[in-house]
């Protein structure tokens, strides 16, 4: 009979964020011996320094901004101000209340052994953490990603900010240049602009939010420029950064013309870089700088090592990482294997108006050569836009030729809530007709979904 090897654990999870926590908890609840290793703060990025702190700051900022513009409703808000240390205290409270930040004790209460330190594979079944050797029959790599720092001359000689460090700033800077025009970059640009910062956004592609349909980027570009005074520099590239007294001088190339911009702070929010410095070569796991390669069961090139979350190099959100983590746990210990379905995952950007998408975008359909119908309902045609005096937004629905909803985009206040009607439709293959015949409450933003769906009914 073949010799059965004994390991310290059934499962070792590397990373305690969304990609690791679900699998660790599920396995422990099923009686497995589990260890979790974290090299930074337990809980990972989402509760500690990205989603929760940023969204709690955005909530305060949006309240302030709405109140400040309340004169048109008869409100006297000219003297309204803010106290940034108190806003930071609110953010810290929100992080603390979430309970997921610094949650080492939670894991221990679940019978999961916790280790703080950098995990490094020595062999396919053995890792070292702070000189301690641990072995397991299964591993889940959920080490996440960190902000990519581009090789811009002079950038390393100045003290630049990242989306993580800017949330700990004592006060908003007077002026800020944001390198990158993606989701997080735009959320922070709007946040800082609300607090009075003069913001410049430098984006290499032709428009901000390059992964979204042009209607979204055009509308958000206009809102940010006209309402928040943000200078958006598309088709632009930062050539160099240098210190100029107390401030920073940034040379930007815009359509072949060089411009010099003097700002207090520079924020680098270009993209995320998977954390693959884990001795993966020692384990035989195939990877590139863009992420770990996995099959549709989230298994790496070594069959007992799985990976989930941002380390895969996909544009991953917390809810996507959680789904992957649950799937990885299932595939390790259950006979019935499952695969993640990325086509129905909702993506949300917490700007104002918010942006939410689900399923296939129009561009995705064009790339796949799918025959589609599309309809857009601007917010201005529904009654709520009148009572709220807000018209910048729309609902866009894409269907196949039979009317089955393939995807949708919502740009509106509360977009993160509105989108779930379309998520349900995409998940269950509902038609535009079924959405259009569903009663929608008068004066709700969701009426725009019904109007867009009705446009697609022949």
């Amino acid at each position: 009979m073949a010799k059965k090897y004994e390991f310290d654990y059934d499962l070792i999870v590397i990373g305690s964020g969304a990609g690791g926590s679900a699998a660790a908890t599920i396995a422990a609840k099923n009686g497995k011996r589990v260890a979790i290793i974290e090299s930074d703060t337990f809980g990972g990025g989402s509760p500690n320094w990205s989603d929760i702190p940023l969204k709690s700051l955005l909530h305060a900022a949006n309240l302030y901004d709405e109140a400040r513009h309340g004169a048109r409703f008869g409100l006297r808000s000219a003297t309204l101000g803010y106290n940034y240390p108190s806003i930071r205290a609110w953010k810290d409270l929100a992080v603390k209340r979430t309970g997921a930040g610094g949650n080492r004790k939670y894991y221990e209460s679940q019978g999961i052994d916790t280790y703080a330190g950098l995990a490094h594979f020595l062999t396919p079944n053995e890792i070292t953490v702070s000189r301690r050797h641990l072995s397991a029959s299964y591993f889940l790599i959920a080490s996440g990603a960190k902000w990519e720092i581009p090789k811009i001359p002079g950038l390393n000689t100045v003290k630049y900010l990242t989306p993580r460090t800017i949330l700990e700033a004592i006060r908003p800077p007077k002026s800020l240049l944001v390198i990158g025009g993606g989701e997080t970059a735009i959320e922070i640009a709007q946040l800082m602009a609300i607090f009075g910062t003069k913001v410049y956004v430098v984006e290499q592609s032709s428009h901000i939010l390059p992964n979204h349909d042009s209607e979204v980027s055009d509308l958000m570009g206009r809102v940010l420029r006209e309402q928040k005074g943000i200078t958006i520099m598309a088709h632009s590239k930062v050539l160099s950064v240098e210190k100029d007294g107390l401030i920073k001088r940034v040379i930007v190339s815009q359509a072949g013309t060089e411009k010099s911009i003097r700002v207090d702070e520079v924020l680098v929010a270009l993209g995320r870089e998977p954390q693959v410095d884990l001795g993966l070569d020692n384990a035989g796991v195939k990877y590139t700088a863009a992420g770990i390669k996995v099959n549709n069961l989230l298994q790496t090139s070594v069959k007992h090592i799985y990976a989930a979350g941002e380390v895969l190099g996909r544009n991953s959100h917390t809810h996507t990482a959680l789904i992957e983590s649950q799937i990885a746990a299932n595939n390790m210990f259950e006979k019935t294997k499952i695969s993640p379905d990325y086509s129905k995952i909702t993506e949300v950007i917490f700007t104002y108006p918010g942006i939410a998408t689900v399923g296939l975008s129009e561009y995705d359909c064009i790339k796949r050569d799918l025959a589609i119908n599309k309809a857009i309902a601007p917010l201005s045609i529904i009654a709520r836009s009148n009572t709220s005096d807000f018209r910048d937004g729309f609902v866009k629905i894409v269907t196949d030729k039979k009317g089955v909803i393939l995807g949708g985009t919502v740009v509106a206040p509360h977009a993160a809530e509105i989108i779930h009607e379309l998520s349900l439709a995409v998940q269950h293959g509902l038609t535009a007709y079924q959405i259009a015949e569903t009663p929608h409450a008068f004066l709700s933003w969701s009426e725009a979904v019904k109007v867009a769906a009705a446009k697609l009914v022949p």
Partner: protein, 94 residues
């Protein structure tokens, strides 16, 4: 500050040993000299690569000899691609 890093040898057949910068330095100089690099340049390249490896090791108290070779090769590629190729292939040849 002295760096205390344990290097686990290939195949785990031998006892781990402490990381020795001069040993790495010598191997990189040898790789550079093998592709007819002037001695001074070989020393400078080895110095730069060793600095990069030592910086990486600061977060890694225990590594394998393969790890050191991979990291050294990665940095050697930027300084001297020809020597890096030789350095990378050397283990396979042996």
């Amino acid at each position: 500050m002295t760096l205390s890093v344990d290097v686990i040898k290939r195949g785990d057949r031998r006892q781990p040993e402490k990381f020795q910068r001069q040993k790495l330095h010598a191997s990189i100089v040898a790789a550079c000299l093998s592709v007819r690099t002037p001695e001074g340049q070989a020393e400078a390249v080895a110095h730069a690569v060793c600095d990069a490896v030592v910086a990486w090791l600061e977060d890694h108290p225990e590594v394998t000899s393969q790890d050191i070779r991979i990291i050294a090769t990665k940095h050697l590629h930027t300084h001297h691609p020809e020597a890096a190729y030789l350095y990378e292939q050397n283990r396979i040849t042996i």
